[in-house]
């Protein structure tokens, strides 16, 4: 096990279970899950498709409530959505009637940050994600990768305590995906944040993570943790990378 850079506990999931109820009965999705995330850590939740990864994020962001157990962020129990917890979506979920600038400044704007200040802040994040010059463009005219950059800038611009990313590159083509992985690494290097990143792609997980939390199949819980200490930027084809990839892929539950 490797040393974690900071020891300040930010996210704590303790004995969390979540079940959905319908006419056929209980449908447990998360079963007795516990893990912690520390300040400025980039943690990847990695697991097979449909295992309940998105549900875990929804519990952390407060879009869903736990059936039993407890989720805390900076010591506060999560009991609903809050601007303290940002989310980057699988589908970009941009506000199509707002241009890039207005999308990015949405959070500060609804919270009453004065225009001059929020414009400055939004511009900083627009520049950070590489969308300089597209401030006045409407999302419909942007490519999938650019739309996802807007989503990332929008989450960062709200300056949340944690940022959750739910398979943000799942819908992108392979080439754009590699590019965006590099971009996320650059962005999270430039602006240190506590990030939880969900994916079912082993390569993406190893490329980005400080720590990978491997999840079991549904109903899910933590199967194993991996601290990734390969130097950044990581090389997809290095021997260590490939060995890790094989190890983690083999450890993952198989689903048909």
């Amino acid at each position: 096990m490797n040393e974690i850079t900071s020891n300040k506990l930010v996210i704590e999931c303790k004995d969390v279970s979540k079940a959905f109820f319908n006419r056929e009965g209980d449908h447990p999705v998360v079963d007795n899950l516990s893990f912690s995330v520390y300040e400025n850590e980039f943690v990847v939740l990695f697991g097979p498709g449909q295992c309940g990864k998105t549900t875990i994020l929804n519990l952390i962001t407060g879009l869903e409530t736990v059936t039993t157990g407890r989720v805390t962020v900076n010591g506060e129990i999560v009991d609903g959505p809050s601007p303290k917890r940002g989310l980057v979506y699988q589908t970009t979920n941009l506000f199509m009637w707002y241009n890039v600038m207005k999308n990015v400044e949405f959070g500060p704007s609804v919270q009453g940050v004065p225009k001059k200040e929020r414009r400055k802040r939004a511009q900083h994040y627009i520049d950070l994600v590489g969308l300089t010059g597209f401030e006045k463009t409407y999302p419909v005219k942007l490519s999938g990768g650019m739309q996802q950059r807007v989503g990332i800038a929008r989450a960062y611009c709200n300056e949340p305590e944690i940022i959750c990313m739910d398979e943000p590159f799942g819908h992108l083509d392979a080439q754009t995906r590699y590019l965006m992985e590099k971009e996320i690494e650059r962005i999270s290097g430039a602006e240190k944040r506590t990030v939880i990143f969900v994916t079912n792609n082993a390569e993406e997980a190893i490329y980005l993570a400080d720590r990978i939390i491997l999840l079991r199949n549904c109903p899910t819980s933590v199967k194993k943790e991996y601290c990734i200490d390969l130097p950044r930027p990581r090389d997809y084809t290095s021997a260590e990378f490939l060995a890790l990839r094989e190890e983690i892929t083999n450890a993952m539950d198989k689903v048909i």
């Binding site: 962001t61 407060g62 879009l63 959505p81 809050s82 601007p83 917890r85 940002g86 989310l87 979506y89 589908t91 979920n93 506000f95 199509m96 009637w97 707002y98 241009n99 949405f106 959070g107 609804v110 919270q111 409407y138 999302p139 419909v140 005219k141 929008r154 709200n158």
Partner: protein
């Protein structure tokens, strides 16, 4: 290249539509000139001359053609604006609030298939033959279409999108004005388009039944004195005005919904 192609395509279509108009006009002139139909149909030249004449000279006792148009337009706009306010309010609240939907939807579904003109007898009994009756008939014509479309839009607002706004710190009022309403705007506009044409039809119907002025009246007055030219003048005025109103609305839509336009 592409732009150039689009322009030549546009010119070609314009020429073809002009050819269409010319054929109709020639056919019309020919029929009037060489058949007995000339007794029942005025000649195109006659209609054109009369059109120009009535711009400055009154039809009937007091109003010129532009004055009649202004009177009709004022009625339409009063009824139409009222139907926009009421229609958008009811449509959005039915789409977003289940209780409102439960209360109003059954009533609305009963009113919905009734065409605006079917309200004419009722409106005259309730409000007499004054302006109120006409505005009411126009209102009923527009209202139904605007509610139907706004309701469809408000129901389709993406739950994820609203949650996304909430997670960024928006309260419910901000979610409503910044997410729900903009999301509905394209739907509202399709309601406004249909609503405008039904309102325009309703004013003519209302004026043909009970009025002493307005473009609808021009037609019935023409019928009363067997002046076919006057009827044609009325019909042409109605068509051109209807077209112009729709074009203005389309322009407004293009400006308000420019975020939907793809391409460079």
């Amino acid at each position: 290249m592409n732009m150039k192609k689009r322009i030549t395509e546009g010119i070609k279509n314009l020429c073809l539509s002009l050819v269409g108009f010319a054929v109709i006009l020639l056919l019309w002139a020919f029929i009037v000139q060489y058949t007995d139909a000339g007794l029942l149909i005025p000649s195109p030249l006659g209609v054109a001359q009369r059109l120009i004449y009535v711009i400055t000279h009154p039809i009937g006792k007091s109003y010129t053609l532009p004055m009649h148009l202004v009177i009709s337009l004022r009625r339409v706009m009063t009824g139409y604006c009222l139907s926009i306010v009421a229609g958008v309010l009811l449509g959005v609240s039915m789409g977003r609030l289940e209780m409102i939907q439960a209360i109003f939807r059954p009533i609305f579904e009963i009113i919905r298939p009734i065409p605006g003109v079917a309200w004419i007898p009722m409106a005259i009994v309730w409000f007499g033959i004054g302006e109120t009756a006409k505005v009411f008939i126009i209102f009923m014509g527009g209202f139904v279409n605007i509610v139907v479309n706004t309701f469809a839009g408000a129901q389709r607002v993406d739950e994820d999108l609203m949650n996304c706004a909430r997670m960024l710190g928006a309260n419910e009022r901000q979610v409503f004005f910044r997410i729900v309403i903009p999301f509905c705007v394209p739907y509202i506009f399709s309601g406004l388009q249909v609503g405008l044409s039904t309102c325009w039809m309703a004013v003519l119907a209302a004026e043909m039944v009970a009025a002493k002025e307005g473009v609808g009246w021009i037609i019935t007055a023409g019928q009363d004195i067997a002046d076919m030219t006057q009827i044609f003048v009325g019909i042409i005025a109605i068509a051109v005005t209807g077209l112009a109103l729709a074009a203005i609305l389309r322009l407004a839509e293009q400006i308000l919904c420019r975020w939907r336009v793809r391409g460079k």
